[in-house]
């Protein structure tokens, strides 16, 4: 029986394992040093905030693994011997494989800041990071202030977590406005405001220069490039993540930023594949980045690779880009591509609407000449994935999108609807005279 070994029990590795099991009876072994059972990394914040217990982050009950003959090994792979198809584990245990899937995910970025390895300085990625945070910042008495370095999705999550325990937070963001490398300016501005509403000391356009230690080797303050010294007990380093592939050095597997793979998620060595955060495409797919550290793409790669491994060779062919996040209380969804002011393409034009009082806004990107829909960002409004995906495939125009916007709304029943305001704003801005069509179940549920 063919033996598939998967290094890493995150969403990519586990998705691959589940789908291989669905399609075949192969022997499957999953190796991870992080946790015995698969858990949802995205939910770690909720454990610290007291919304859940750690066990709630585990999507499958503990009996699931044995029942589905997925062998779990708690171990840390130190070396891949590609010639003999063997893995060397810490503690000199060895495991042989017929096919190897590398799904080791990411680790937090550290950019060589002085003091980055002091006690009290940490990232937020793994289960161990969560445990560390619980020890470093159990309450506002122990942690009198935390400084977070890096204004991305993890940074704002960490800020929300610490604020849930009333810990004062200073948030250093390199950009002039929060996440403005990704978000258009109107949206980024709105999130700036929302961060301040949550009593987070947001310092834009500010970089970390140095972390100062006390006599016991703990972080006691942060020095910024503005010359400010901020006393603190915890420093969160959340300036992005990078593929977790150090153990592959010298294995012969081609590495770049991540593990280099082709469209089929194959590495340069036969029978070795890489998926998820740690994989790097030789050539980026569409507007995507070569390394995609996103939950959904990890899952998709797992789904696609399982097909290949089970003899139905399939390329990793992600469809229209989508993603979502939550900035404190504001939900964010995106479908297709809406670029920031900085990386906007020449032909890309934006339509932006923001609610006069609430923290709700929409940005729709379209082609300047053809008016074809390119993407949509919504904040505080939920959108129906299927409809947006369909519109992107059908290359619908802005006028069409506006006319049928109600079909795309996915907010709970009885919620206030903003289509009217959005469309009248659109009509004024573009001199059109569009009246919104009533929402139609028939259109929504017709899968054509």
């Amino acid at each position: 029986m063919e033996h598939i070994v998967i290094i890493g029990n995150g969403i990519s590795g586990i998705t691959a394992a589940r789908h291989i099991r669905k399609l075949s009876g192969k022997k499957i072994t999953i190796i991870s040093p992080e946790s015995k059972y698969f858990f949802s990394r995205t939910a770690l914040m909720y454990v610290y905030m007291g919304h859940m217990k750690f066990e709630h982050t585990q999507p499958y009950e503990n009996w699931f693994w044995k029942k589905n003959r997925l062998d779990l090994v708690n171990g840390y792979v130190t070396k891949v011997d590609t010639a003999n198809k063997r893995l060397l584990l810490k503690g000199s245990e060895e495991i042989g494989y017929d096919k190897l899937i590398i799904a080791t995910g990411s680790k937090s970025n550290k950019f060589g800041w002085p003091g980055q390895d002091l006690k009290g300085v940490q990232g937020l990625y793994s289960k161990q990071d969560l445990e560390l945070l619980e020890a470093n910042a159990p309450n506002k008495e122990v942690c009198k202030r935390a400084v977070i370095v890096g204004g991305g999705l993890i940074g704002i999550e960490l800020a929300e977590m610490l604020r849930s325990r009333d810990i004062p937070v200073t948030f250093l963001v390199r950009e002039k406005s929060f996440w403005d490398g990704v978000l258009p300016s109107g949206e980024s501005q709105m999130i700036n405001e929302h961060i301040l509403e949550h009593h987070i000391d947001l310092k834009l356009d500010t970089n970390l220069k140095e972390i100062v230690a006390d006599e016991d080797g703990w972080a006691k303050a942060v020095v910024t490039d503005k010359g400010e010294t901020i006393p603190c007990n915890v420093v969160g380093l959340t300036a992005g993540v990078t593929p977790n592939i150090d153990f592959l050095e010298g294995s012969g597997i081609e590495l770049g930023k991540g593990v280099k793979v082709n469209n089929f998620l194959e590495t340069n060595i036969a029978d070795i594949y890489a998926i998820g955060d740690c994989a790097e495409q030789h050539e980026a797919i569409g507007n995507r980045r070569p390394v995609e550290a996103v939950w959904y793409t990890g899952r998709m790669m797992g789904e696609a690779l399982a097909q290949t491994i089970c003899g139905r060779k399939r390329a990793y062919k992600p469809g229209h880009w989508f993603n979502s996040a939550k900035f404190l209380d504001i939900e964010y969804q995106t479908y297709g591509w809406v670029f920031s002011d900085r990386s906007k393409k020449d032909h890309e034009q934006h339509f932006h609407w923001r609610h006069p009082k609430e923290k709700i806004c929409v940005t729709i990107a379209f082609h300047k000449d053809t008016k074809q829909l390119l993407g949509i960002n919504t904040f505080g409004i939920r959108m129906r994935h299927e409809i947006l995906d369909r519109w992107l495939t059908e290359e619908r125009t802005m006028d069409y999108v506006m006319e049928y916007l109600r079909d795309a709304n996915f907010d709970p029943e009885f919620y206030a609807q903003y289509e009217k305001a959005i469309i009248s704003h659109y009509n004024v801005e573009f001199g059109t005279n569009i009246t919104p069509k009533k929402k139609s179940w028939k259109r929504i549920f017709s899968n054509v």
């Binding site: 982050t57 989508f322 209380d329 994935h385 709970p412």
Partner: protein, 526 residues
């Protein structure tokens, strides 16, 4: 703000303590004139009982129900034993010993509590309401921005099965045990609400009136909490208003007013088989003897169960009843909301749930068939089983223990829908309709799920919502009561409760939306 909350908690606890002490205090004295009245009302002809009562109770002063009650119950039991032995069945008293103690106690109360009903109401209910509101309302400010406010639920003792939760558990269980089995100890409570009861129905309050009044009070106060916590969520606001309205108007006010108008006591929204004694002989007789309105209720009750309920479930899912109208659901969604996370999501629990809830349905329907058979044929047994024994067994096991003691008492430990999930026969019936023929579903939004587990954690019905959502499948489960919390707590906008065409409602998916693995190819290979 924190200080106001603390003061509120303090006031609430004072009210609660006074309320808890009441069953053990108070003066009771039964005058012989009052005793005669009781004898007359109850039609008692047992000379043994009368003698015993006159010897031990009448004219004597008792301090606290615990000193009075044993005298009455033993008098009654002694009398009945003797009469049964002598086969003097006409003299046997069919009022239960504790009901008798409650009835006698009610007319024997003397002293401060009875003379200061208004004040006593304020010291118990009044302080409780005031304190609770002072505790709850500062959250308008303290919770900050609109949004999901579940911070600290698993850090708080009260909501994480700590000692406070266990105290609440003990209190609720004891309260229900008193209501169902030792109603004489509720006599002092009935005095507090006598003025309200007399205003509504013209009668003095019994312990079920206390319960009904308290139910409405608790729901109202805890609905204020819901309004504050979910103020960003219109679905929750509307739904909470709806359950509150149906509880106060349909379950509480209308039946009382009907009594005042000499009509039968009836809750128009309480559908069989949740309303399990609807077809009991005494109820049918009472309805048939009440003229036009009785007949109307009889027809309404049957149409409600056979037509209205399933048709509405077809259009809206069982939520229209379970989390918009029903009283049990109403309490669960208000008082029970802080405990919703405790329902077990394991596969094992789901198995137990299916066996249990459907067994209760079979039990309820079987019992009712026996009842109707007995009613029409006027025989007291069916296939050798005594109809009345089966009815009593159901009333005790399901009506009192499952729905009451366990259903509500276990909130802080097993979550707020224990009864609705494991025991309610109506829910089981609606579940069939919802599962097999309904427009209702919780739509999963394509591939947006991140498996975080908020939805499953906060599902009060113990549905592992995430298991469906992370596969891109819609959630179609007979037990779902459509409370809408999964959709509310989802950080990524993945879930939406909606009613739509039946076609495509159940949508097993091979590969999630967003992944263009050649789907047609996949299908063809199958």
């Amino acid at each position: 703000m924190q200080i106001i909350k603390k003061i509120g908690l303090f006031i609430f606890l004072i009210g609660l303590i006074i309320f808890t002490i009441l069953p053990f205090v108070g003066q009771f004295e039964l005058s012989s004139a009052t005793f005669d009245k009781v004898l007359q009302e109850k039609g008692i002809s047992s000379e043994i009982f009368i003698q015993e009562m006159e010897k031990n109770v009448v004219g004597k002063e008792f301090s606290g129900m615990h000193s009075l009650s044993p005298k009455i119950t033993s008098a009654l039991e002694t009398a009945n034993t003797q009469h049964r032995k002598n086969m003097e069945y006409k003299k046997v008293i069919y009022t239960g010993p504790h009901d008798m103690a409650a009835a006698v106690g009610k007319v024997s109360g003397r002293g401060f509590i009875v003379e200061n009903k208004g004040l006593m109401w304020f010291l118990t209910f009044g302080l409780g309401i005031l304190g609770a509101l002072l505790f709850i309302i500062p959250d308008v400010v303290l919770l900050g921005q609109k949004g999901i406010k579940n911070n600290g639920i698993y850090h708080e003792n009260a909501t994480n099965r700590g000692w406070i939760a266990w105290m609440v558990f003990v209190f609720l269980v004891s309260f229900y045990l008193v209501l169902y089995f030792r109603s004489e100890y509720a006599v002092n409570w009935t005095y507090l609400v006598d003025p309200i009861s007399e205003f509504l129905s013209g009668n003095a309050a019994g312990h079920w009136f206390v319960y009904g009044f308290m139910y409405c009070t608790v729901m109202t106060v805890m609905a204020v909490r819901m309004y504050i916590k979910y103020r960003h969520n219109m679905y929750q606001m509307v739904r909470t208003t709806s359950v509150l309205f149906f509880q106060i108007v349909f379950a509480f006010l209308i039946p009382e007013i009907m009594v005042r108008l000499q009509m039968p006591y009836y809750d128009f929204k309480n559908a069989f088989p949740l309303d399990y004694d609807f077809f009991f002989q005494w109820n049918l007789k009472s309805l048939l003897n009440s003229g036009g309105i009785g007949l109307f209720i009889l027809v309404w009750g049957i149409v409600l169960t056979l037509v209205i309920v399933p048709v509405m479930v077809y259009f809206f899912g069982k939520r229209w009843y379970c989390s918009w109208v029903c009283g049990c659901g109403g309490l669960a969604e208000t008082l029970g909301d802080p405990y919703r996370q405790h329902s077990s999501k394991s596969l094992f629990s789901w198995k137990v749930e299916r066996w249990l809830v459907h067994s209760v349905l079979v039990f309820a329907v079987g019992m009712t068939l026996m009842t109707l058979y007995s009613f029409f044929t006027e025989s007291s047994t069916v296939l050798g089983l005594k109809t009345q024994s089966v009815q009593s067994a159901y009333s005790l096991l399901i009506g009192a223990f499952f729905a009451g003691v366990i259903g509500t008492g276990f909130y802080p430990i097993f979550g707020n829908r224990v009864w609705c999930r494991f025991g309610c026969p109506l829910a089981a019936y609606l579940g069939f309709v919802q599962r097999f023929k309904s427009r209702f579903r919780i739509t999963t939004n394509g591939g947006q799920c991140i498996s975080c587990g908020n939805c499953s954690t906060y599902c009060e019905q113990g549905i592992d919502v995430r298991a469906y959502a992370q596969k891109g499948e819609n959630i179609i489960r007979s037990s779902c009561v459509g409370c809408g919390i999964c959709s509310a707590v989802c950080p990524r906008g993945v879930l939406k409760l909606e009613n739509g065409p039946l076609k495509g409602r159940i949508n097993p998916t091979e590969v999630l939306l967003g992944n263009d693995v050649d789907l047609m190819d996949l299908v063809n290979k199958k």
